[in-house]
Amino acid sequence: QQPVQSPQAVILREGEDAVINCSSSKALYSVHWYRQKHGEAPVFLMILLKGGEQKGHEKISASFNEKKQQSSLYLTASQLSYSGTYFCGTERGNNRKLIWGLGTSLAVNP
């Protein structure tokens, strides 16, 4: 039931792009993306809903493929501040709890 995130870790140079994926074996109502820095609270980035609606961060884009039950987070022209662990949380139609992936660790170097 836990979504699978890939890759597990990414190292980028400042300015490079990255894609983080989140896949579920169950039908989803929405996918929530968060970034967490060490010792800090997860920070909201984006919600993608079944049907195509999106809510979130202006500078980050994401997609949700309902047929595949897969979401992708696109980080373009990465900045040092993008470093952290990215988590996807999946919400099914029958209740509101989020089931989280194991995270993708992103390091952006100068």
């Binding site: 836990q2 109502y29 929405s30 929530h32 968060y34 800090e40 609270a41 997860p42 920070v43 909201f44 919600i47 809903l49 809510k55 988590f87 949380g89 919400e91 139609g93 209740n95 509101r96 709890k97 989020l98 089931i99 989280w100 992936g101 194991l102 995270g103």
Partner: protein, 115 residues
């Protein structure tokens, strides 16, 4: 307040002690969630409230865990007879409405260490 706050930020307990962790959600937020995050893992759902009603407690790992939100604002997560496997960061989140796909805003967490 400006965001979700949690107290204490750090708690060390001896095995067998009871602990109480507090969450102050964003003012006016209807929904409140508790998650447990082990080192290097994603958060795991414990329970959630809509106002004072506990609508889902399926993630509570044992009957030693108990959560309440008596007046629909502040919430307390209580762990009785703590065990070493309870060591984790306990995160609280609140959302404005009681609907699906609503943004959850997280507090900084309480790091519990059970010796």
């Amino acid at each position: 307040g400006a965001g979700v706050s949690q107290s204490p930020r750090y708690k060390v307990a001896k095995r067998g002690q009871d602990v109480a962790l507090r969450c102050d959600p964003i003012s006016g937020h209807v929904s409140l969630f508790w998650y447990q995050q082990a080192l290097g893992q994603g958060p795991e759902f414990l329970t959630y409230f809509q106002n004072e009603a506990q609508l889902d407690k399926s993630g509570l790992p044992s009957d030693r865990f108990f959560a309440e939100r008596p007046e629909g604002s502040v919430s307390t997560l209580k762990i009785q007879r703590t065990q070493q496997e309870d060591s984790a960061v306990y995160l609280c989140a609140s959302s404005a409405q009681g609907v699906r796909a609503d943004t959850q805003y997280f507090g900084p967490g309480t790091r519990l260490t059970v010796l």
